[in-house]
């Protein structure tokens, strides 16, 4: 069973805004940090191989955590859109679109994504984390501060993206 895979360095990066026993306010899931990275990766179009970028990569979850399940097909849709654009496929090219759909989706999978699709999402998450560490001078210490800053970074990335702004 395939898992979403998390770079250990990204897990470490988010630790100060992750909810702990003593700190009640913060991200409650490892997947939260992964998700912010995915969104920034999709927004910037950056992808990287997690294993190449980090000393250790660990299997995280084999399905979307409960709070994200309503969004799992939305995330899959964004992934398809990003990949169509990256591969230079127009949404009017039926066979090519179908081929990408078949490659990235899997009806039998818990995530609705094929192994290839999950691996691709891991690559966007890794690329997004690379972008995040370039844009933030230091690790975030307060979620309220991080939320505002990451929102601004994603907005800026989308505003500069042909994938999202001009084709959408």
């Amino acid at each position: 069973m395939a898992h979403f895979r998390l770079r250990d360095d990204s897990k470490q990066w988010f630790k100060n805004i992750t909810k702990t026993g003593s700190e009640e306010l913060g991200l409650s899931l490892d997947f939260d940090g992964y998700y912010f990275c995915v969104i920034l990766g999709l927004a910037t179009g950056r992808r990287s191989n997690p294993s190449d970028q980090s000393g250790r990569v660990t299997d995280m979850v084999e399905r979307f955590p409960e709070p994200y399940r309503p969004q799992q097909r939305i995330i899959a849709g964004l992934l398809i859109w990003a990949e169509l654009s990256r591969r230079g496929i127009a949404v009017t090219e039926k066979e090519a679109v179908q081929s990408v759909v078949v490659e990235l989706l899997d009806a039998q999978s818990l995530t609705g994504l094929s192994n290839e699709g999950m691996s691709l999402l891991d690559r966007y998450a890794s690329g997004g984390f690379d972008a995040l560490t370039e844009r933030f001078e230091q690790k975030p210490y307060r979620l309220e501060q991080f939320a505002r800053e990451v929102f601004g970074e994603i907005q800026a990335a989308v505003e500069n993206s042909e994938v999202w702004l001009y084709s959408a």
Binding site: S54, R73, G77, W81, V91, K94, L143, F151
Partner: protein, 654 residues
């Protein structure tokens, strides 16, 4: 198990073409003499018998193969077939000689099965190996070697019969199993064990230290926080001269607490909004809507699935009624590729449905919602930070005006708070997630636990390896001891039995075997006469065979040739008692003192065969053959009968 030699046949080889069968009325006689004058191929026949029974000929070098070729013959092929009865079931081993290719191939037939190789059944095969076959297909050379000081024939014969090498095989199997089981192990020795044990001990000590430090830090933090609180209370009680100032500080503190709560609430409300990707930018929502629209325009998922076309290809006619030919089926297969399977249709429909239900047509809602929340959050953060700042300023001012005692308490409180902060950092460092560069002296509990699990796994691996090594050594030692004891006891009983028989056979001057090392050692003499040697050989060999629970034929080349008449008679008297089938390849001069004695000892259950080669010199013999019991081939003659056997003589024989 009972193994009998039913006969053999030879064709196209150095010895004359003959088919020798010992079975009469469905059984083999107790004794069979095959009288073969010199030059008829006794030695060749004995070697062929051994080769057929051991499978050795596939290892023969070309010159060895060619030795069996009939002189001045153009024939490229030859064969030698041995027929055995194993518990009354026929086992046939055929050697096919190809003199052109200079090789020998085997064929084995047992029951209804036939194999193109030397493949006797396993329970028979364990006896059909060189050292054992030499015991029951026997010649003078073997007897001589039994007494040669440095030869190992005696020992090998004992090993072969009692199969003590099986104990070595078990030992080797145990060793092999240890290697197999530990092949993947990275360390196998005591040094590796000590290294891993030390590593685990160190890690556990570090874990114990870290846990103790954490517990002490928690206790100390708790105590310090209580002290800080007490100092703060004392400071608050004593600072400022006026009630008014104190009330102002309390009000500001209440405001700061409320501002902090407002921020916390906003952040808590924010998280579910952040978990919606479309909240980050309307462009995400627009892209999804556009994707959905285009999937609809492309008719994806298609109303007809790939399965429909695959099934249609199997039909005789199309849904429209037209017959489907190969061209139509190929076209269907090609078109089908542009349709997706039904399962993809389902997942794509769900994707479109989710986009339809969760993404608003104007696409702006979630992004505006998030933006508004973040704006509110920003304002509340500012309010909180301002309130915190005011509390700090007011507090400092009050402390400054409170006198030396209050300043001292505040300094104490500050120092204690610093210590609390450091202890929190320590606890955080202990509780943090493991990092790739954590070493084994880290304070991170998660990293230490990972290292400990790894060390336990490695130690467990080598512990199992060492345990298996110890058990392997114990087993090997037991096997070696068992073998040594068995060898010693077997030698002792065999020596006793042999000496007892030698006293009967060579009663006038019996040699005495005192030791069986590699060879037999006689008491007070370095060697023995030819006759003594042969007698000792018989004695040793028949003693061994008589100790086996299995029955084997005893095939002997020139059984009486080197012995004087007295010894011959003694040997002849005992041989039938020691085996159930005795086959002797003899020459005419051995008859005296031997044949009659055996005939008597075997109660007349004796088959007499005489074989000779057809040559210029034997034409007169062919002319004088009896009317019955004669088998002739192009190159040889086989005559059955005691009378012919006894009168057969040739001037050239010794």
């Amino acid at each position: 198990m009972k193994i009998e030699l039913a006969g053999w046949s030879s064709k196209g080889l150095r010895s004359p073409d003959l088919e020798v069968s010992f079975k009469r009325d469905g059984r083999v006689p107790h004794v069979a003499f095959v009288q073969m004058p010199n030059g008829t191929g006794k030695t060749t026949t004995l070697r062929l018998l051994r080769a057929a029974l051991t499978g050795i000929a596939t290892q023969w070098p070309p010159e060895e193969v060619l030795r069996f070729r009939r002189p001045s013959s153009d024939e490229d092929l030859g064969e030698f077939i041995v027929r055995l009865d194993v518990d009354n079931r026929p086992l046939t081993i055929r050697m096919a000689f190809d003199f052109d290719a200079q090789s020998v191939r085997y064929q084995t037939t047992f029951g209804s099965g036939q194999k193109e190789s030397f493949s006797p059944p396993a329970d028979v095969g364990r006896f059909l190996e060189r050292h054992f076959v030499e015991l029951f297909v026997f010649d003078g050379e073997f007897a001589e070697e039994l007494l040669k000081p440095n030869a190992m024939r005696a020992k090998r014969a004992i090993d072969a019969l009692f199969q003590l090498h099986l104990l070595d095989d078990i030992s080797a199997a145990a060793e092999e199993e240890w290697h197999r089981a530990t092949r993947a192990a990275s360390a196998k020795g005591q040094a590796g064990y000590s290294r891993r044990r030390n590593r685990l001990d160190k890690l556990r000590e570090q874990l114990r230290r870290v846990k103790k430090a954490r517990k002490e830090a928690e206790q100390r933090t708790s105590a310090l926080e209580a002290e800080c609180e007490e100092l703060s209370r004392k400071i608050t009680t004593h600072i400022g001269d006026t009630e008014d100032q104190r009330r102002r500080l309390e009000e500001k503190q209440t405001e700061a607490n409320a501002a902090k709560s407002a921020v916390d609430v906003t952040v808590t409300e924010l998280l579910p909004i952040l978990r919606k990707p479309t909240a980050f930018h309307p462009a995400f929502a627009k892209a999804l809507v556009r994707l959905r629209e285009h999937l609809d325009k492309l008719k994806l998922p298609a109303s007809t699935s790939i399965e429909f076309f695959r099934e249609l290809q199997e039909q005789e006619t199309c849904v429209c009624g037209r017959p489907l030919d190969e061209a139509s089926r190929a076209a269907l297969a090609k078109r089908a590729a542009s349709f997706m399977g039904e399962d993809y249709n389902g997942v794509l429909n769900s994707l479109k449905a989710d986009i339809g239900s969760q993404v608003e047509p104007n696409c702006e809602g979630p992004a505006k919602d998030l933006s508004d929340h973040l704006t509110v959050l920003g304002e509340r953060v500012k309010t909180r930070d301002k309130a915190d700042s005011e509390v700090r300023v007011l507090r400092k001012r009050l402390i400054d005006s409170g006198g030396d005692a209050v300043k001292k308490w505040e300094e104490q409180r500050r120092q204690k708070q610093e210590e609390v902060d450091k202890l929190h950092q320590l606890i955080d460092d202990i509780d943090r997630l493991a990092e790739a560069d954590d070493k084994e002296d880290t304070r991170c509990l998660q990293a230490l636990k990972r290292y400990e699990a790894e060390a336990v796994r490695e130690l467990s691996e080598i512990t199992e390896t060492l345990d298996l090594r110890v058990r392997t050594e114990v087993l090997k030692k037991l096997l070696a001891e068992a073998k040594a004891i068995a060898e010693k006891e077997l030698r002792r009983t065999i020596i006793d039995s042999c000496n007892s028989r030698l006293r009967d056979v060579l009663s006038r001057d019996p040699p005495e075997i005192v030791e069986i090392a590699g060879s037999l050692r006689l008491k007070g003499q370095e060697g023995a006469s030819v006759g003594q040697t042969q007698a000792i050989g018989y004695t040793f060999q028949t003693t061994l065979l008589s100790r086996s629970e299995h029955q084997f034929p005893l095939v002997v080349d020139s059984p009486a040739n080197p012995m004087d008449i007295t010894v011959r008679t003694e040997i002849a008297r005992i041989v039938p008692q020691l085996c159930r089938q005795f086959v002797a390849l003899t020459i005419s001069t051995e008859r005296l003192g031997f044949v009659d004695a055996i005939h008597k000892a075997a109660d007349g259950d004796v088959l007499y065969l005489t074989a000779f080669r057809k040559t210029e010199g034997t034409k007169h013999l062919v002319a004088g053959l009896p009317a019955e019991g004669v088998l002739q081939t192009e190159s040889g003659v086989l005559v059955e009968g005691q009378e012919y056997f006894n009168r057969f003589d040739l001037a050239e024989e010794d």
